[in-house]
């Protein structure tokens, strides 16, 4: 580290301690190391290079604003961090600097069960929030597979997708308004109306959307008012097994067109996913040999409503080659949605056990393009595994309905790949990044988006996201907005190639 940089950092740390208290400004290696990674594979060889310089844990909006002002004064980068369970590397600091861990800000500020909102600080987890809401018979229905771990700030930073979004909406649909500390340390409120609770207004620009899904590049959310929903009276999970993925694919179209309003999600499992779960997942309920793919549907509503649609659901399944697997399997599969994801220990098809971590692509693809995307993705993944059989393993695909409030149109399309991080080398990592790039490119070539849930900032997909998906003027506009709001490039630099916004200046 150059002398001036080191001096600036030391001075900044001194001011941070004055602003937050010594206890909440942490420089020990382990405090920094545990907050470097997120939940997508990294390759342990990269870890050391990504360590931040200091971690702070503010307790209030004023403290967050103070941190941002200090960062601007000393030109030290900031990376906001929620639960650190994102899958887009958003909370991983690319330019060292300050990690702002917001998990101490976890208070519930107001519950309004008449206008149906809850106002919270960004460090609260959804499961904990819903425990408090339960006695009022309302819930906050954002339900990612990472529900027990994420915090609201991270959900907003990622612009996340919910398993129940088809019924209840996704994160961008569930935020009424927010308080944001901007990259220059100003405190603003985004959202409509004189209060915090208006969902639909035609006044002004839709600035709220700008501050959702920006991966911490445009500011730090310090308070949010969320939309609540009545807690559903009943749920109806139905699990159909099919003999082919084509049957499963066809069945989902029939569900898309069914007009069933309480349908809150449809999930397809492909052949490789069924095979993976058979060999590797203790929680997986054994299915007969003939089962090759599957479709799971979930309805939420009143008991009367669900009783009325039951037979339509079964009819659609049966008419499209689906065999209903019974109540126990249906309920068991749905209940394990949050827990099923990945352990490091893995059984491989050759019977050996490997320590591998989970990588998850999450493109948004329209229904008609799914067969093409599936075929092309497997070609890429299989070539990667053939080249590095000890380092990668294919864990199959899921496809979930992705359109908010409606079951038709786009699908969050996930291919899961096991990655041997412990034994990663720079050369193998380069091949991995190349495969990811190709996967992302297929998504965009097929008219889709690189990411439906996690964000498109990871190495491998970020080039495709910025230069291909957002090429028709959007990426340029993003850079102009970034530079306008963050003149010093303080907020999460290195993400989404937004550093390019400042390059002209540097060259000049």
């Amino acid at each position: 580290m150059a002398v001036e940089v080191a001096e600036a950092l030391e001075a900044a740390i001194g001011e941070l301690r004055t602003a937050l208290g010594t206890e909440y400004v942490m420089t020990d290696f382990h405090q920094r190391a545990i907050r470097t990674t997120n939940t997508s594979p990294m390759g342990l060889h990269q870890w050391k290079d990504l360590l931040p310089d200091v971690v702070v844990m503010p307790a209030s909006t004023a403290q967050v604003a103070a941190v941002v002002k200090i960062a601007n004064k000393f030109l030290i980068p900031i990376t906001p961090r929620g639960a650190g369970a994102g899958l887009a590397d958003g909370a991983t600091p690319m330019k060292r600097g300050i990690i702002v861990d917001i998990k101490r800000m976890c208070d519930i500020l107001e519950i309004d069960d008449e206008d149906m909102t809850v106002t919270v600080q960004p460090g609260i987890n959804m499961q904990e929030l819903n425990k408090v809401l339960r006695p009022l018979n309302v819930w906050f229905p954002d339900d990612p597979a990472s529900y027990p771990v994420n915090v609201l700030g991270g959900r907003i930073g990622a612009g996340g997708w919910s398993l129940l979004g088809t019924g209840y909406g996704h994160v961008p649909d569930l935020v009424c308004s927010m308080e944001v500390v901007t990259p220059t340390g100003d405190i603003i409120r985004v959202g409509a109306g004189g209060g915090r609770k208006i969902r639909k207004s035609s006044v002004g620009y839709r600035l709220k959307d700008l501050f959702i899904g920006h991966q911490g590049t445009l500011g730090i959310c310090t308070e949010v008012t969320l939309d609540l929903a009545p807690r559903p009276q009943a749920q109806l999970p139905v699990f159909f097994a099919t003999r082919s993925w084509e049957d499963a694919h066809r069945m989902t179209l029939a569900f898309n067109r069914s007009g069933i309003r309480c349908l809150s999600g449809v999930v397809m499992f492909d052949e490789a996913k069924v095979e993976f779960l058979r060999r590797d997942d203790e929680a997986w309920i054994p299915l007969p040999e003939w089962v090759n793919s599957a479709v799971a549907t979930i309805c939420y509503g009143t008991s009367v409503e669900l009783e009325a649609v039951k037979s339509s659901i079964f009819d659609i399944g049966a008419a499209n080659g689906g065999v209903y697997m019974g109540q126990e399997i249906s309920e068991g599969d749905w209940a394990s949605r949050h827990d099923r994801y990945h352990l490091a220990y893995h059984g491989r098809s050759d019977g050996t056990i490997r320590l591998m971590s989970w990588s998850c692509e999450d493109a948004a693809i329209t229904w008609s393009q799914l067969p093409t995307v599936k075929r092309r993705w497997y070609e890429i993944a299989e070539a990667l595994v053939a080249k590095h059989p000890e380092h990668f393993d294919i864990w199959g695909m899921f496809m979930y309905t992705g359109n908010p409030f409606r079951p038709w149109g786009d699908f969050l399309t996930e291919i899961d790949i096991g990655v041997n991080e412990l034994e990663m080398t720079p050369e193998i990592w380069a091949d991995w990044v190349e495969a990811k790039t190709q996967i992302a490119r297929v998504s965009v070539e097929c008219g889709g988006s690189v990411s439906a849930a996690h964000g498109g900032t990871r190495e491998g997909e970020v080039d495709v996201a910025c230069y291909e998906e957002l090429k028709d003027g959007q990426f340029d506009l993003m850079k102009r907005i970034k530079k306008m709001l963050d003149p010093n490039n303080i907020m999460n630099p290195g993400k989404y190639h937004l550093d390019e916004a400042y390059e002209d200046e540097e060259t000049a």
């Binding site: 020990d28 190391a33 545990i34 870890w47 844990m57 639960a83 771990v149 412990l422």
Partner: protein, 407 residues
Amino acid sequence: MSQQLSSKPFYDEKIEGTIIPLPLIKDCYAVFACRHKFCREVCPVYQDDRDESHTSYGFHTALLGISQGMGELADIRETITNCLECGACELRCPNTLFGGDFYGASTTTVDLVRKVRRDLVASEIGFEKYEEIVATVDRYIAYFEGPEGDLTKWADGLNLATSGETMLFVDYFNAFETTDIPRNAAKILTAAGVDFGILPRPGATLGELLDVNLETFVEMGRHNVAALEQAGAKRVIIINPHDYTYFTRDYTTHIGELPFEVVFITDVLEELTNNGQIVFGEATASEVFSKVSYHDPCTLNKICGITESPRSIIGKLPGVTYIDVTPVEQWSYCCGKGNASFKTLHPDTSYKIGAKRLQAAADLGVSQLVLACPHCKDQLTDVGARSGVAIEPVHILTLVAQAMGLD
């Protein structure tokens, strides 16, 4: 029955400075790479300070970081003290929940924390307030070497035998700090017609030893096993749930299979009430309206999986209305004292965790919180007095003795 799925012999290999043994690296990686981080929200310490370095993820990842050349053992001397050794994270970890049996690789944070603390001691680095822990250990060990009869003073006037096929094991905390608990246990068993004896000189069963001095813990354990065997024990009844974990997990790991059956007192009482050897009287007027809940001690609930028998006994107590909080919900609770050293290491956090637990009981609208652990009783009585939360912590044996008319 203890529910430990994985015992990790490689924990015996010491961490030296920056060198982490390879099997431990892989073990830490398995927690790091799981990345669900379910271990956080369930952790009573994290719930209080929201600092993920004080969680299973934090401890395992810090060690993995050392293995990658980012730091050394001494760097984590403070952080590693921030664990109650309660076991919640072990249960909530997907490696245990979904992989435990399948891959034989459950997460064992409690053992890891103890191991790291011991390695710090062995490396002469120590940790904050280490001396206070050693002083506590020395104070208790002195009882072992003290005058004959001191260790059984709690039983004065009860005329208990010192041998028998059934032995009641009474630890030093109960023997000196909460004497009504072993006295009630002895009175109840006698009234139920159980023939049993007690050891005149039991060895120390201190969790603190697992944090600082495994050799003495094992030495004392060997003494206990031999003395109980010599006394003719076929069945050993334990009244301190911390001891139950030491006998069923730590003695079996470090000493070997035990030559007798080990049972917890509430399991025994459940048997005795079911077969009619214990009969409760009618409720007295003052008892009729008591509304109670039950606090699962971490050691029983999270480490040993004993949750049914205390509930079953409370359910049979005359005049008691019982409000349950499920054992799984109580994974995220703790009285705040921790399994061994925590209260000494972090008295403020310990108090806050305890006050939160009492408040959760108060929110249920109960007047008493029933306990099955002397440490929880001691801690929550203390916390109740300081916080003013109007809940009476009461030991289950007190209620049973009362209901049997034993005073």
